[in-house]
């Protein structure tokens, strides 16, 4: 019976397709289980054990919530996250509004500058702030006493953290709001106008309700990012403890894995909430625009445009000044006493950077993550979106694919230690190699790429698959000849996303790198810990420049591809 079944499977094309697709679905699910769910489960189980690995129930949680210092960290984290997300979203709203609803000049410039913070590790924002607002900062000292005024702010602590998080989350909020604002029904504005509504009233009654989902979503995203960020509090937090730095102290400082896992779980909670809200909103957002909607028309308004232009100029200026300061600090001999030019700080051999090796390792990890991650994610999205087998399994796959959205990097890193650093695990061999770093990065950044891929695939009519199937063309030929070429812009976008994020991330990989595989971003943390701030600035600069460089190559190389596929996708329009 088995043989006939086997023969049947392979003799007809449809049978073969089905067999390959089903196997692939299993492989994908297995991959997601290994890379996402199993480590998460290990983390959960470890949160209930003590240092020696003995089961102690809720002991760790009880200990955590009864220690006043930990409760303080929790409150601190809540405070900085709420403050950062509100400020960041408010600033981003103004910025995105200007770029979508006004006729200001230099939109392209503003758009690029707003994304700049995405190319830098969060430690860099902190480092930049210390050079600007620290006790010896340019602004604090009034350009080293050259200016008649001084401006002192109490940087180290909540102020510094909030400033860094605002810079870090600004591009994220801006991107979400840009999309939200670009859909609008002009009919509503006309109606409001006929009814005699003023400008402010129009903004409050038409614009704001129209983008409310975008607003909520961006608030949650910014909140989660600030809540889980490690880099900025590490650099400018001073003695102001937050959850992320607590985990670092528990795990790296005291090697207390159980307690680290406990704090990790506390760290997931807001992220899970944000995730749920985001999922609910996702469904609602689609229905805002109907076929009868009219596109927004930008009216003329000199005063508005001048004001908002100035506003965008200030924001862009702030981002550029911060980046420029870090770049300058990397070349200055002894800040602030000897401001002569030097390249010494790029010699990482005498500091925790250990030469250029961490940089090369980072490049290698980022490249592998980009290549393997993109291939894996796209195929995963394809299997879930385009095949018709095992509906339940595919749904489980979908859930597992977007689950990492709710997992902070530190949680992934800790989960990976528990799951992979276990001699009974057959995959133990990847522990301590470059591959665990690649896998952790893939898991960490999987969801966003997955959503990009799914969105692109959704635009493709199912007719393609059906037509090829009825003509007896194997599905993989359709995949290679039609699906991939059409989705190429999305695929390249995913590759970029994986690469850039792998270059800047520190939270997951911090727990996983082996002695001879230190990453550039981790070396920044180590150098800052040792007080070598200038070399840390230099390394940050290398990362930013690499990312911008790669992005520019991508832009140039894909201009043709994007034009072609855009033309194809819009051929009817």
């Amino acid at each position: 019976m088995k043989t006939t079944q086997g023969a049947h499977l392979f003799t007809t094309g449809a049978g073969r397709d089905r067999f390959i697709q089903r196997t692939a679905i299993f492989v994908m699910i297995a991959g997601l289980l290994i890379a996402v769910l199993a480590p998460l489960m290990s983390l959960f189980s470890r949160a209930f054990t003590d240092r020696g690995g003995q089961y102690i129930g809720l002991g760790n949680f009880a200990k955590y919530f009864t220690t006043s210092a930990s409760m303080q960290s929790f409150q601190n984290t809540m405070f900085i996250s709420v403050a950062s997300s509100v400020i960041s979203v408010a600033l981003a709203l103004g910025f995105a509004f200007t770029l979508t609803r006004t006729a200001v000049r230099g939109k392209r410039f503003f758009k690029s500058v707003a994304l700049l913070p995405l190319f830098a590790p969060t430690m860099m924002h902190g480092i930049g702030l210390t050079y600007l607002f620290g006790h010896q900062g340019i602004i604090t000292t009034g350009f080293f006493g050259a200016l008649p005024w001084e401006w002192k702010i109490d940087l180290y602590g909540p102020v510094g953290i909030i400033l860094s998080e605002v810079i870090y989350t600004f591009p994220q909020a801006y991107l979400i709001l840009l999309v939200a604002l670009s859909f609008a029904d002009y009919n509503l504005y006309e109606a409001a106008e006929t009814m005699g509504a003023g400008k402010l009233r129009k903004f409050l009654t038409v614009t704001v309700p129209n983008i409310k989902y975008g607003l909520i979503s961006s608030l949650f995203v910014c909140f989660t990012l600030s809540f889980t960020d490690f880099g900025a509090p590490k650099v400018v937090g001073g003695q102001y403890n937050v959850l992320a730095t607590d985990i670092y102290k528990q795990v790296i400082g005291q090697q207390n894995m159980g307690m680290g896992a406990t704090v990790g779980i506390i760290l997931i909670i807001p992220a899970i909430l944000a995730f749920i809200v985001d999922r609910i909103l996702e469904g609602k957002m689609n229905s805002a625009i109907t076929a009868k909607s009219a596109p927004y028309r930008t009216g003329r308004n000199r005063l508005r445009d001048t004001l908002l232009f100035t506003y965008c100029l200030i924001i862009s200026g702030a981002i550029l000044v911060l980046t420029a300061t870090v770049f300058a600090a990397a070349f200055i001999k002894t800040w602030p006493y000897n401001l002569t030019f030097t390249l010494d700080h790029f010699d990482f051999s005498k500091v925790a950077g250990e030469g250029m090796k961490p940089f090369w390792t980072s490049l290698k990890v980022a490249a592998w993550t980009a290549v393997i991650g993109t291939a894996g994610t796209f195929m995963g999205a394809y299997l879930i979106e385009k095949t018709r087998h095992f509906r339940l399994l595919r749904q489980a796959g979908y859930f597992l694919s977007i689950l990492p959205l709710a997992l902070p990097g530190m949680v992934i890193g800790l989960g990976y230690i528990f799951f992979f650093n276990n001699r009974d695990n057959p995959l133990h061999a990847i522990y301590g190699t470059i591959w665990i770093l690649v896998l952790a990065n893939m898991a960490h950044f999987y969801s966003v790429s997955f959503i990009t891929a799914t969105t692109a695939l959704k635009k493709l009519d199912r007719e393609f698959e059906m037509a090829s199937e009825s003509m007896g063309v194997p599905f993989y030929k359709t995949f290679a000849r039609i699906t991939v070429p059409i989705c190429l812009p999305a695929i390249l976008e995913m590759t970029m996303y994986y690469f850039i994020n792998s270059m800047v991330t520190v939270s997951a990989v911090m727990f996983l790198y082996a002695a001879d595989l230190k990453l550039a971003s981790v070396s920044i943390v180590n150098m800052d810990d040792a007080g070598d701030v200038a070399p840390a600035a230099a390394m940050s600069m290398l990362i930013v420049i690499t990312n911008i460089g790669v992005r520019m190559i991508y832009e140039l190389a894909t201009r043709g591809v994007r034009k072609k596929s855009a033309a194809w996708q819009n051929r009817e329009g």
Partner: protein, 366 residues
């Protein structure tokens, strides 16, 4: 039924595929490791196990120059150096107690090695030439459980430019540090992570007695702006003037001055707390001959000369060797009386108390 056999077959395929994947990554991973050992070249790959893992808390800017003579003597041994602050290295070693990764500990606080020894984690081994080591700087048992290479001590790095701007005198003693005018100007390493922080705290305990020491530190805490992860950072922060007074250690403070930062190195009048940077062999199933060889090398003449370039006090007295620039004429007299064994025994309790009192210092700004 048919459907299920199909499913079963698929599952089987899947499992074997996964297994193959596992194999694949395994060998790839191994290759990767070998790639990384490119320094030692092909020999290492051929002869296989000539590789040791060394845990150390030595300074980043020292390790490379120290290792030069080792690399030229043993070019075929690949040394994986894991460096971190004393507290982190100690915690790491303790965490790996049942499954040690390190073969050798090098240049790490004796008080930490004593903690490991109290946990039965050290393999007694007397390296060649151990008889030349000054008795205070090595274990009294034979064979020795740990052997020191040098001693380091508390020093303040004080930024003269910034203090002048504020019209403040340079603090010369621990007593000076708690004066109200220095409020918010002092940075100190966290003893839980930093060896320098720990020897400073234990030094105070031995100078003042336990109770008085906590009282003193309560007052000092009032003046401290922030506690840092490493013992070097306070000196570097003093160097840039970010915080003008850094409680650090001799080598790093002198180094900052040499680099051109306007700092003065102050050894506190009351005397400095100190510790020994020491080496030990880790007890494990397969103790590699290279590990012992490394320990022999680590107290031989070449590296000793290098240690002496950075530290005034080394564990093998050599009358020809001078005192490195920046230290006082008689560095040994600066050291307080210090019972390393007792300090090691109290280490956990001291750190727990310290963390409870000062770790979340900035919390209530109400």
């Amino acid at each position: 039924m048919k459907k299920w056999t199909g499913l079963l077959a698929t599952m089987l395929m899947l499992v074997s595929f996964l297994a193959a994947c596992g194999q694949g990554t395994k060998s790839e991973g191994a290759n990767q490791l070998k790639d990384q050992s490119a320094g030692a070249g092909k020999e290492a790959a051929v002869s296989g196990s000539k590789e040791i893992t060394v845990y150390t808390a030595l300074e980043d800017d020292q390790i490379e120059s120290y290792l030069e003579s080792y690399k030229s003597t043993y070019p075929d041994v690949k040394v994986n150096v894991v460096r971190d602050s004393t507290g982190v290295i100690t915690a790491k070693l303790l965490a790996e107690k049942d499954n040690p990764v390190a073969d050798v500990v090098w240049g790490t606080a004796a008080t930490s090695l004593l903690v490991l020894d109290q946990n039965g984690m050290l393999e007694p081994y007397s390296p060649a030439g151990v008889e030349k080591v000054t008795p205070e700087f090595k274990d009294s048992q034979n064979p020795t459980h740990w052997v020191g290479i040098d001693a380091w001590e508390t020093a303040f790095a004080v930024n003269t430019v910034e203090l002048k701007k504020k019209g403040l005198a340079i603090p010369q003693s621990y007593a000076d540090l708690i004066k109200p005018e220095y409020k918010g100007l002092i940075v100190m390493p966290n003893p839980a992570s930093s060896g320098t922080g720990f020897l400073t705290v234990s030094g105070l305990q031995q100078l003042l007695g336990e109770e008085e020491a906590w009282k003193y530190m309560d007052k000092l805490n009032e003046n401290i702006a922030t506690y840092t992860h490493s013992g070097s950072k306070p000196a570097k922060l003093a160097g840039t003037g970010e915080y003008p007074i850094g409680i650090s250690f001799g080598y790093r403070s002198i180094q900052e001055k040499k680099k051109g930062a306007p700092v003065e190195v102050v050894f506190p009048k009351e005397g400095s707390g100190w510790d020994v940077e020491a080496n030990a062999l880790i007890k494990k199933a397969d103790i590699k001959p290279e590990a012992k060889q490394f320990l022999d090398w680590a107290i031989s003449a070449e590296p000793m000369k290098k240690y002496n370039e950075n530290y005034a006090i080394i564990s093998i007295k050599d009358d020809a060797a001078g005192i490195p620039e920046g230290y006082s004429k008689d560095p040994v007299s600066q050291l307080i009386k210090n019972d390393l064994n007792q300090t090691a025994k109290n280490r956990d309790a001291t750190l727990a108390e310290w963390t409870k009192r000062y770790d979340s210092k900035s919390e209530p700004k109400q």
